[in-house]
Amino acid sequence: MNGVRLQPTSTAVHRGWRRTLGELPSALLFLLPTVAVLGTFNFYPALYSLYLSLFEWNGLSPHREFVGLANYTRLLASGEFWNSLRVTLLYAGGVTLLALALGLLVAVLLNQPIRGQALYRVLYFLPVITPTVASGVVWKYLFDPTQGVVNRGLAEVGLEGPSWLSDPSWALVAVIVVGVWKRVGFNMVVYLAALQGIPKTYYEAAQLDGADSWQQFRHITLPLLAPTTFFLVVTALIDAFQVFDLVYVMTSGGPLGSTDVLGYYLYRQGFRYSELGFASAVAYVMFALIFLVTVIQFRLTRGGQDDA
């Protein structure tokens, strides 16, 4: 890691470069399309959303009523919003922690000298890139109370499974299971790469000092993995905070709001009830939460910019 590469250089080579390639105008031409697209499609909507959050509007009537911060105060007073926030935090916390632990476990196991390591890695990774819709429908099928494999399996060993997605106390658990299933592979790959970067000599030295496997793991591996762990926690939180697809496919936020994550709450307010101003306020609260986590991560890791 070094930050030197990006700093403006003033070597002779560099000056020669500038002369031959031309000054900044060409660079601007290269950059223009990107800036134009991103500016139009992200900058403007983000501002438009902020503006809308100050109005009450059903999306159809020509009249929008300016209400100031009323949407935000209404939000903070809404029990549904706090329920959504609670569900989102439970989901995010559950998926993040479980997938972190499992990802580390698999990475440590895979880090042993094992035949077929590359194949294992790909197979574990498949859920990560599988379309969420497909994952959602398959798991919905697996969790089906009567036809699903999960409950049939439980019945085989004499247990009566809950009705999972239609049971308010189990629906979120089931959705978290799927979230974890989709996340473990990513964590595993990142952890594995980090593990392979730890010099073997550290462990050899520890062995000479008589440290057992657990002590080596506890006092060498874990501390050296700390930056990786931090990265994984932050990215998992950001992802989990925005969850929408899984909930849309598996539960539609139910039963009784037990899986009504913020993303789905926002979708309902905006696209089902046409409360555009209010939904925009929800969007901004979500945006603020995600932005906060993102900025912290970028500041602390310098945005991965130094990584090759």
Binding site: V106, V189, G304
Partner: protein
């Protein structure tokens, strides 16, 4: 002492067995949903409903036939292919140029511009869904595949810039400099000399763009009706009512998953590197 030395290899052996067994167990759990989906998609209706579940059955393509006979599904697959490839192609064209500028020129504020471009990747789709919907409606662009192409660009371009810029930095400057000395314009130098050498990064980012565009649900859901509906949206449209046609749903699911998995297997090593970029040094 001598006993300890002798028992170590045996204990190591045992440990390896345990590790292998545990890994195999986790792999089975990981892959089971895929296997079950494909199995159910090939089962007859009777076999799907059979209790206890049948493991051995005579496969049938009935479910695929039925799923594909819904006009919706075929059209949605065509739409998905068009939208994903177009958005990927445009993102490459636009993003690699920006990556070149960022890799080769220096100016004050370059880092901020880079940060702004990359940060677009981390914009939350759900947060922007509403303004996008209103913009598209105002422009009469709802239910138009190009609308999705354009919106996916905002997520695809940052991926391309991020990965390709890295790759271009590894191409020696002497090469494009020589081309320019020989009379090429910067654009020619970029497209003919630098880009071919940065091909691995271009391929990785293309795959990531394709997978993102192919998988996306939210925007496809709110910005399309019927004409430009994508495959993921079509798959969710089966999911209403009581007696769900699981066989057909699993067939549609398999058709959505298959291209992604084939892609992933083909380029697994690059893919993993690309997806975890920024995390792995």
């Amino acid at each position: 002492m001598s006993q300890g030395v002798r028992s170590t290899p045996r204990r190591k052996h045992l440990w390896h067995w345990l590790v292998g067994l545990l890994l195999l167990g986790i792999i089975v759990l990981t892959l089971f949903p895929f296997l079950w989906m494909v199995a159910a998609s090939l089962k007859s209706r009777a076999d799907v409903l059979a209790f206890p579940p049948v493991w051995v059955f005579s496969p049938t393509l009935d479910n695929y036939q039925k799923a594909l006979s819904r006009v919706d599904v075929i059209r949605s697959l065509v739409n998905s292919i068009f939208i994903a490839t177009t958005s990927t192609g445009l993102a490459l064209l636009i993003g690699t140029s920006a990556a070149y500028a960022l890799a080769r020129w220096d100016w004050r504020g370059k880092r901020d511009l880079w940060f702004w471009i990359i940060s677009n990747r981390f914009m939350s789709p759900i947060v922007l869904a509403l303004p996008f919907f209103l913009m598209a409606r105002a422009l009469g662009a709802l239910d138009n595949p190009w609308t999705l192409v354009a919106i996916y660009l905002t997520f695809n371009i940052p991926i391309v810039v991020w990965i390709v810029m890295d790759q271009i930095r590894n191409v020696p400057r002497d090469l494009d400099e020589a081309a320019i000395v020989d009379g090429a314009t910067p654009f020619q130098a970029f497209f003919r000399v630098v880009l071919p050498l940065a091909l691995p990064g271009v391929v990785v980012s293309a795959i990531l763009c394709f997978i993102f565009s192919w998988n996306e649900l939210l925007y496809a859901l709110v910005l399309t009706r019927s004409a430009s509906r994508t495959a993921p949206v079509a798959a969710t449209s089966f999911m209403s009512g009581y007696d769900l046609p699981w066989g057909e749903i699993m067939a549609t699911g398999t058709m959505i998953v298959l291209p992604v998995i084939v892609f992933a297997m083909l380029v697994s090593r690059h893919l993993v590197r690309g997806l975890t970029l920024g995390a792995v040094k």
